[in-house]
């Protein structure tokens, strides 16, 4: 299927790959923010995941070890944030920004010897039967494991948040921390775990850039994906399926504008390059105009269990 010189199958397939890092980081951050914490360190955790994942994948030649180590690295970095903000009561905004700086610097330092090396890549998993469907098969059911994992993760998070006890407690803590505390829920402990979850998914998201999308290590290669993830969470009104929609929209326009550049459309390159950001924001703002979507009531408010 080719429209205006662009193959739609390749486009959709590329879109899912291009959106996966942002999607993974954003779904984790959505959980963090649902618990009432604003972690602006997503970019730092992503780039750390990217470099650690790359190092382990190169040394073991097994990509999946890279992803596991990236998740652990992201979570460990987020523990730093969690300890500082939940126990030492440091300011969440400043600490999150600091975390991004630390991540960018640290990854540049430890990644230096690995520049210019090619990493092992993930093999594609063709889902039996489904991948044989014409058009749809190669489009959606012929990806690597992490792409499937990211979609399953979104579905799981959506289910857990809206349908389970754990999700209810998480929302309660983010909505009204004093009330949750009065009812006997461990506000700090729940937030700590949410922050670690966010760190792990950001780490995996980062590793997907260095192990699947690019696949090699370059300093600063996340290139603002963490910030996009943060923006997506807000514009998606903290709803998991909208995070997926936003991420795919963003990924789609990114791929599309590259294709348009390649076939030489008479639109200035600068405008094409900024289009993913503009379109994603416009669409999600449009959606959030309908209905009632406010931030979790206790978002970014420090909590200290006094009295």
């Amino acid at each position: 299927m080719v429209i205006f010189g662009i193959d739609l199958v390749l486009l959709i397939s590329a879109l899912m790959i291009s959106a996966t890092p942002v999607l993974l980081a954003a779904i984790g951050e959505a959980v963090v923010e649902k618990s009432g914490v604003l972690n602006l360190g997503v970019e730092g955790m992503m780039i750390t995941g990217a470099v650690i994942g790359f190092i382990f994948a190169v040394n073991t030649q097994i990509p999946i070890y890279g992803f596991i180590c990236a998740a652990i690295a992201g979570a460990l970095l987020s523990v730093l944030f969690a300890v500082l903000t939940q126990y030492i009561m440091s300011n969440q905004v400043a600490t999150g920004l600091g975390l991004t700086m630390v991540g960018l610097g640290l990854s540049a330092l430890i990644g230096k010897p690995y520049e210019g090396i090619k990493s092992p890549t993930l093999s594609k998993i063709e889902i039996p039967i489904l991948s044989d469907i014409p058009i749809l098969g190669p489009m959606i059911f012929s990806h690597d494991a992490i792409v499937y994992f990211s979609v399953i993760l979104v579905a799981t998070v959506a289910f857990v948040i809206s349908k389970t006890r754990i999700g209810l407690v998480l929302r309660a803590v983010g909505e009204n921390q004093e009330a949750a505390h009065a009812l006997g829920y461990k506000v700090v402990r729940i937030r700590f775990l949410a922050i670690m979850f966010g760190g792990a998914t950001a780490g995996i998201g980062g590793a997907y850039i260095s192990l699947a999308r690019v696949p090699q290590w370059t300093e600063g290669m996340t290139a603002g994906a963490g910030w996009i993830a943060l923006a997506l969470v807000v514009f998606a009104s903290w709803k998991p399926w909208r995070v997926l929609l936003g991420a795919y929209l963003f990924g789609g326009i990114t791929v599309l504008q590259l294709n348009l550049q390649a076939i030489g459309v008479a639109i200035p390159v600068e405008i094409l390059s900024m289009s993913p950001y503009l379109v994603t924001i416009v669409v999600l703002v449009g959606i959030s105009l309908f209905g009632h979507h406010t931030a979790p009531g206790s978002l970014a408010r420090p909590f200290h269990a006094s009295q």
Partner: protein
């Protein structure tokens, strides 16, 4: 002789600088409604939090039935059959009724089953409640129902209620009391915390009175006068507010055709509000919070601007003026929410005084703050309104609710406003401080000011106001001479109907 359910023995609890509870002992029997009385800061909340497992006593012991009882966290207390209805801080606005209830239960059933259970239990106790509704859209009375149902579903032995009637309409109070008596009939015990002595005399079997963390007495409320109980609470006698004159001058504040669309998702829009207040008059506006009270206050304070002629002072249109400009011509307001609206929590009392002062009093010609003047003003407020604070440099948030309320009211009244608008002047304030605040409002009116008091507390309005109207669902009734109103009239007004049939003989 009824059996003892909960026995408290020599309970003490200290915080840095304060002894919140000092050797407190008392017992609650099965099937008893037991009142816990005391001023703000007497140690009632601390004591209750220890029973509910939110805090642990430093010394002393508790016994539940025949077993030693020392819950390390609320879930332990709930498992032992203790349930608590909080005054604030325990509902989640953005969650549904059923979700809110599930959060307060140890092993909640599936949401679907829980919803059915909520409907059955709430109907059987005469407290109807839709399980799918968002809590943020409920009235204060309905919100309390959520808490009560949450407790009842756990089948508790002891139900703790912290100031349950402070936000209810008279009818809701009646329903609540019926529920409480029914629970008592089922053999459950209730620990009832309140400032309202008449209520306690009506419903409680026994009362324990705390002052400064110590138990200072106990009594059978029915056999003791409210005055006696009140004196035990404060340790001295205090007088009810009174005023010298009730003569009104010309029309001072006039509001005509005031309509505002609320910007708050959970707020109420105002539609076509008309009233006027004369020199020396106190207009009381009753009704349950959430019916447009906050919106009315913000229109009068100037936070929300309207077309100029909607609000007039001495026939001068001021609807477009900002709060600061209104203060300059002598119109001041004290909103309900003390922390964050009336006062900046993290700023000192001195800085909070500065915020609403006339700029010419506190800022010199070069734009520099005259801190000596501000300090002097703050010192005046603190001494004249008996605000108890260690220093003037204490943050507003460090004061207790009652003290901060005295500060806020004092700050405005000492500026001698011509028009003063106040929302819930004595909410959560103890009896002595409330009497003092009411007296200062009366004195202000006697000094040729016009006052608008918005309050849910009908007793308060009847004590100090000259005229009375009700704000329901964003609409305001006609104002009536308060002395001409019977309690049925008030009920009708609260229900949203105007007393048209008799407005001609009271107007």
């Amino acid at each position: 002789m009824a059996e003892v359910l909960l026995q408290m023995d020599g309970i003490s609890k200290s915080f840095p600088g304060v002894k919140a509870n000092d050797e407190v002992s008392f017992q609650i029997n099965s099937g008893e409604i037991h009142a816990l009385l005391g001023e703000n800061g007497a140690g009632k909340s601390t004591l209750v939090k220890m029973i509910y497992g939110l805090m642990q006593p430093d010394s002393g012991s508790m016994k539940l039935g025949s077993e030693n009882f020392r819950p390390s966290e609320p879930s332990k207390a709930r498992q032992s059959g203790i349930a608590m209805v909080f005054q604030h801080f325990s509902l989640f606005d953005a969650l549904s009724v059923a979700e809110n209830i599930a959060l307060g239960m140890e092993n909640p059933p599936r949401l679907q089953d829980l919803s059915e259970k909520i409907e059955t239990v709430s109907k059987s106790y005469g407290l109807p409640l839709g399980p799918k509704r968002l809590v943020g859209q409920l009235s204060a009375g309905e919100r309390q129902r959520v808490e009560i149902i949450r407790c009842l579903l756990q089948n508790p032995k002891l139900l703790i209620m912290d100031e349950p009637t402070s936000v209810l309409t008279p009818n809701e109070v009646k329903t609540l009391f019926e529920t409480l008596l029914r629970l008592k009939g089922e053999g459950k015990s209730i620990l009832y915390i309140s400032h309202k002595l008449e209520e306690i005399r009506e419903i409680c079997d026994y009362a324990t009175i705390l002052r400064n963390g110590k138990k200072v007495g106990s009594c059978i409320p029915r056999d003791t006068s409210a005055k006696q109980i009140g004196e035990m609470m404060v340790g001295k006698s205090f007088s009810s507010p009174s005023r010298k004159t009730r003569a009104f001058g010309e029309e001072l504040l006039k509001v005509s055709n005031l309509s505002i669309r609320t910007k708050d998702f959970f707020g109420t829009s105002l539609s076509n509000i008309n009233f006027s207040v004369r020199v020396g008059e106190i207009l009381g506006i009753g009704g349950v919070a959430g019916n447009g009270q906050d919106e009315l206050l913000s229109a009068l304070s100037g936070e929300e601007k309207t077309s100029p002629s909607t609000i007039k002072i001495f026939n001068q249109p001021i609807g477009k003026l900002a709060p600061d400009e209104r203060r300059a011509i002598g119109m001041r307001a004290a909103p309900e929410e003390r922390l964050g609206h009336a006062a900046a929590p993290a700023m000192t009392l001195i800085e909070n005084t500065l915020i609403t002062s006339h700029s010419e009093d506190v800022i010199n010609q070069w734009g520099i703050i005259k801190f000596d003047n501000v300090k002097e003003k703050t010192r005046n407020i603190v001494s004249e309104f008996d605000v108890r604070t260690p220093t003037l440099d204490n943050a507003a948030a460090s004061l207790s609710g009652g003290n901060l309320q005295k500060f806020v009211i004092g700050r405005e009244i000492l500026q001698k406003p011509r028009v003063f608008v106040v929302n819930q002047p004595t909410w959560g304030v103890d009896a002595a401080a409330a009497a003092f605040i009411r007296q200062s409002i009366l004195n202000l009116a006697s000094n040729d000011s016009a006052v608008v008091v918005i309050s849910q507390d009908l007793d308060e309005l009847f004590e100090i106001c000259d005229t009375f109207s009700v704000l329901t669902n964003g609409r305001m009734s006609k104002s009536h001479d308060i002395r001409s109103l019977s309690s049925e009239d008030v009920g009708l007004l609260m229900g949203g109907s105007d007393l048209d049939r008799k407005s001609h003989d009271t107007a």
